[in-house]
Amino acid sequence: MATQILMPALSPTMEEGTLAKWLVKEGDTITSGDILAEIETDKATMEFEAVDEGIVGKLLIEAGTEGVKVNTPIAVMVEEGESVEDAAAPAPAPAAEAPAEAPAAAAAPVPATPKAKAVEPDWPEGTPMKTQTVREALRDAMAEEMRSDANVFVMGEEVAEYQGAYKVTQGLLDEFGDKRVIDTPITEHGFAGIGVGASFGGLKPIVEFMTFNFAMQAIDHIINSAAKTLYMSGGQMGAPMVFRGPNGAAARVGAQHSQDYAAWYAMIPGLKVAMPYSAADAKGLLKSAIRDPNPVIFLENEILYGRSFDVPDMEDFTVPFGKAKIWREGKDVTIVSFGIGMQYALEAAEKLAEEGIDAEVIDLRTLRPLDYGTVIESVKKTNRCVTVEEGYPVGAIGNHLSAYIMQNAFDWLDAPVINCTGKDVPMPYAANLEKHALVTTDEVIDAVKQVTYR
């Protein structure tokens, strides 16, 4: 019986891909393990192997086709004796077997491209812009800083030869060599400590954690060695370095791989903490982080890596720490968020606008230092505030902001501040549960309606 070969999902975040090249042609006999095609995913070019044996009856999608959705039939296999003509017949019924509720890893909704313009631009008016993914922006930031400061180096698991587990360090080994782009064994506690020691010794390490979940192996060095030494040495020495990597939930990777550490690190005096949303902020903040004389925790997000934004095309673009960004001005309510939380905040603001609620959306960008001034000023204008983050509800950044606002703008508040957060549960694997465990745009909209009494 003729069977269809469907466009495979080849990464946790892949929804579509490019069918770069066919490595078989119609009429070829293949066995399990043969490579059928090369497929470009959001992260890499992958070889797609045959699972069953048979004869290639027909190639349905031409090589070079971009944007082929996962589960689209791409070829028809026939068995011996079956004619290729028969194979052309089966209706290209879209993947009857794949239930609609299980698209590849689409846990996080893709947000509307934020249209609102930054109120206080970080670059001069008229600067030419280019479109870049967050991933590219981060790589450029590291490359630029490595060019200008010979003491900056990167180390971590798979950062060099593999080009980064999430391809953030792509090309750095080629340009800077293995003295400065260093693959480590899987030993986070050890190499984080070596990084801190190297920073004491005069270097400026960028320590990549494959994800921040694994930084828990190293948390003693981050807190006890990196964050506290300046203080303990009476200012004689500290740890000018960056710990960076993806943080928070990816898609369907379960409890041990899906946690937002923003509030954990933001609690620690001696650390600085950045958590960018856009590509421009990722670039500008990472450059500032590398130059900063303190240990900086730089929290990226796997789902955001592939998102494109405008990035200023200028020499040495940086974004200062401690300065929030107003993505959208509004008068009815202040929505404060950071990192991937911004996608819910912005999407909610857009939907609320349709209902006549005018939300101001603030992206904190750095959590330590935190731009209290911008938040308080906005709350004094709107008299209402909703915070949005992916982390747990107890001890959240939103909890801290609520307390701060209560102490410093109590008389301006017309409603209690509401914190929208991830749920108070470990991250479940099941697609339907995962969606509910994360903060959702609808929850933000509901919270805004509560504080605006609509």
Partner: protein, 340 residues
């Protein structure tokens, strides 16, 4: 094909040999099916296939007795099938459904079975090593004569906690077999690039733990080494290390472009060293099974795997209330009651 060398003289009965063939084939076919379901978007996130390494767990399970425990990393599907967990429940966990071993809440990397003494399924590289020693600690404390198989990779062998564990396991004479599944790569890092010495099994020596290197493409060699290690542990002499040289044929996970090794390297392993093919040859050349016997096994396995795929698609998604359950326990079995 010609270069294939039949495994050494069987140290087991023909029935046992046929059983190993069946058990290894079940893992291989199950994993191939899981790969297919992943490609279709029915399985999400990370999914680490065990294809190529089947002889390791099948050989060691053959050396285990009822009540012995096992704990491993995220590359865990093979371990679960080999210790007798239900393929339906494993596959349904991969698809995140109610019928899965963790009700869909754990996923590929996190499954457990109290009944089969399978203690997970752990996502943090190296973390299962002290956990395994802890299980052995409990067994020693409860004086129940059990042994724990603690599996970890060549990459995990560089985590500091492994050596902290070696030390304690040795001074407390814990009945634990440390099984280093050396498939020669940790994601894209070959063992050569990450490890200061060529052998990992010798790393127990400074702690007084005996170790040996085992050919992991030969299920009989694995079984023999397992028997020896288990006897050592059960006699109260403390831990034992088996470094089992094996090979994974697929990428590290489904999203690994695998540019760090050549296709020829993989192909050569498959063609010359494949553990399943080895046993197949041994069965046929030794006259322990006919082509028809093996066909019947192939068919049985195919049916089991297809049924598990069906089950995993038909099992409903977990109820939304499940989001809020299993965060705190009312009571957990303690001590000997754990077996009840």
């Amino acid at each position: 094909m010609a270069a294939r060398k039949p495994a050494a003289k069987p140290n087991v009965s023909p029935d046992e040999l046929r059983q190993y063939y069946r058990d290894m084939l079940l893992i291989r076919r199950f994993e191939e099916k899981a790969g297919q379901l992943y490609g279709m978007g029915l399985i999400g996130g990370f999914c680490h296939l065990y294809i190529g390494q089947e002889a390791v767990v099948v050989g060691l399970e053959a050396a285990a007795s009822e009540g012995d425990k096992r704990v491993t990393s995220y590359r865990d599907h093979g371990h679960m099938l080999a210790c007798g967990m239900d393929p339906n429940g494993v596959m349904a966990e991969l698809t995140g459904r109610e019928g899965g071993y963790s009700k869909g809440k754990g996923g590929s990397m996190h499954m457990f079975s109290r009944e089969k003494h399978f203690y997970g399924g752990h996502g943090i590289v190296g973390a299962q090593v002290p956990l395994g020693a802890g299980l052995a600690f409990a067994d020693k404390y409860l004086e129940n004569d059990r042994v724990t198989f603690t599996y970890f990779g060549d990459g995990a062998a560089n985590q500091g906690q492994v050596y902290e564990t070696f030390n304690m396991a040795s001074i407390w004479k814990l009945p634990v077999v440390f099984v280093i599944e050396n498939n020669q790569y940790a994601m894209g890092t070959s063992q050569k690039r990450s490890t200061s010495t060529e052998d990992i099994y010798t790393r127990g020596a400074p702690f007084g733990i005996p170790g040996e290197l085992v050919d992991g493409m030969d299920v009989l060699a694995v079984k023999a080494a397992g028997d020896k290690a288990v006897a050592h542990c059960r006699s109260g002499k403390g831990p034992y290390i088996l470094e089992i040289k094996t090979y994974r044929y697929r990428g590290h996970s489904m999203s690994d472009p695998a540019k760090y090794r050549t296709r020829e390297e993989v192909q050569k392993m498959r063609e010359e060293r494949d553990a399943i093919q080895n046993v197949r040859d041994l069965l046929l050349t030794g006259g322990h099974a006919t082509e028809d016997d093996l066909k019947a096994i192939d068919k049985e396995i195919k049916d089991i795997v297809n049924a598990s795929a069906e089950f995993s698609k038909e099992s409903p998604e977990p109820a939304l209330e499940e989001l809020w359950t299993d965060i705190y326990a009312e009571a957990v079995p303690q001590g000997d009651a754990i077996e009840a």
